[in-house]
């Protein structure tokens, strides 16, 4: 599906630029996009190296195991078939903690490790497993206790109380997360039934 979406984005842009007379802007935007992509990679690279290194120490020292135990009561409902001590669940917990605390881009490296562990558990190498879907969906909904970047931007824009939107953010993100998890669960179940009926799928 990403093939179609990606192709559509590019073709729609070309058509739109012709209709709206933005052809020159599109040319610049295309080249700038590639440069921006590299820029983002360069920002991510040191964070990635730092945090995956730290995670390795945390795993060896048994810290991740403790964090995983803390989250397990909630996570066993979302990922019922993952075993309590499994590396996949540990990585998911680390990703979750990093998201909650908002610590320096650590969530992505932990998340990529989690995906790798989930892939080892999946029977299909090219099809997303239910656990993968659930995990990625959880990462598309932000769950951050203290969104410092937003607070800082609001403060810079002259807000008298930059953090008074916190209750709104918490309520909204929890609701969005719950809705997404429930919908993903329902769709996972429906597809499992379908797969059960026709073995060719």
């Amino acid at each position: 599906m990403l093939n179609y979406i990606w192709g559509f984005m590019i073709l729609a842009s070309i058509v739109a630029s012709l209709l709206l007379g933005n052809t020159e802007a599109l040319t610049n935007g295309t080249l700038q996009g590639a440069a921006d992509g590299l820029q983002l990679l360069l920002t991510i690279l040191p964070m990635m190296v730092l945090w995956t290194g730290m995670m390795e120490i945390a795993q060896a020292a048994g810290i991740t195991e403790k964090i995983a135990k803390f989250f397990y009561p909630v996570l066993k409902r979302i990922f019922p078939d993952l075993k309590p001590g499994s590396p996949a669940l540990e990585c998911i917990c680390l990703n979750l903690s990093a998201n909650l605390l908002g610590i320096g881009n650590a969530a992505t490296p932990f998340g990529l490790r989690a995906m790798d562990e989930l892939r080892k558990l999946s029977p299909h190498s090219e099809v997303a497993s239910n656990n993968m879907i659930m995990f990625v969906v959880m990462n598309t909904a932000a769950i951050q206790l203290l969104p410092t970047t937003i607070g800082m931007l609001r403060y810079n824009a002259g807000s008298t109380s930059p953090f008074d939107i916190l209750p709104g953010i918490w309520v909204t993100s929890v609701i969005a997360l719950v809705f997404a998890v429930v919908l993903a669960k329902a769709l996972n179940k429906m597809q499992r039934k379908k797969v059960g009926k026709s073995p060719s799928a």
Binding site: M1, L2, M54, R113, V137, P147, T148, V171
Partner: protein, 172 residues
């Protein structure tokens, strides 16, 4: 305020090292082993990332995104959604950097404590760059069939969009 929060990073690193030393982990060797896997991860997501960002950048530069926003703005206004928020809501799931820039624009032009400014703040804090998360996470492990992930992610963004309006109306 901001500096204090950022200090969490060295603190977390410090705690990991202390625990590691207590448990007699060869900390630097272990760090290097893990760091190498991080390097490989970046290498494997690089093509995905550049490909995606080029497409998003094209979509913005061509004016397609703004045009689509202007199409749905009249209908949105009828149900009480400010037109200023539409471009931001459209850009939020596809571009992290782009939507942050738009967010700054909104709060600087309308005021961070205005209704629009607050709705944008709540949205920015309760959503992630969905397309980025989906492509990077699945791309890193070579998954081609993502099934319903993207739709559920976009549904979460839409839910956040609706509830950002509701919570700002209710709480502030």
């Amino acid at each position: 305020m901001v500096i204090k929060m950022e200090f969490a990073v060295p603190c977390v690193i410090g705690l990991i090292i202390i625990f590691g030393l207590i448990k007699k982990v060869p900390v630097f060797d272990t760090f290097l082993k893990g760091a190498k896997s991080g390097l490989i991860s970046v290498y494997s997501i690089a093509p995905t990332m550049i490909g995606l960002i080029v497409a998003v950048s094209m979509l913005r530069a061509s004016g397609a995104l703004d045009f689509f926003g202007s199409l749905i703005a009249p209908a949105a206004q009828k149900v009480g959604i400010s037109p200023e928020i539409i471009p931001f809501a459209l850009l939020r799931p596809v571009s992290g950097g782009g939507s942050t820039a738009l967010f700054s624009n909104i709060i600087n032009e309308n005021g961070p404590d205005s209704f629009v400014g607050r709705v944008a703040s709540v949205m920015a804090g309760s959503t992630e760059t969905t397309l980025y998360a989906v492509t990077v996470y699945f791309g890193s492990v070579g998954i081609k069939k993502i099934r319903h992930t993207l739709w559920v992610g976009l549904f979460a963004d839409f839910t956040a969009f609706v509830f950002a309006h509701l919570t700002v109306r209710l709480f502030m």
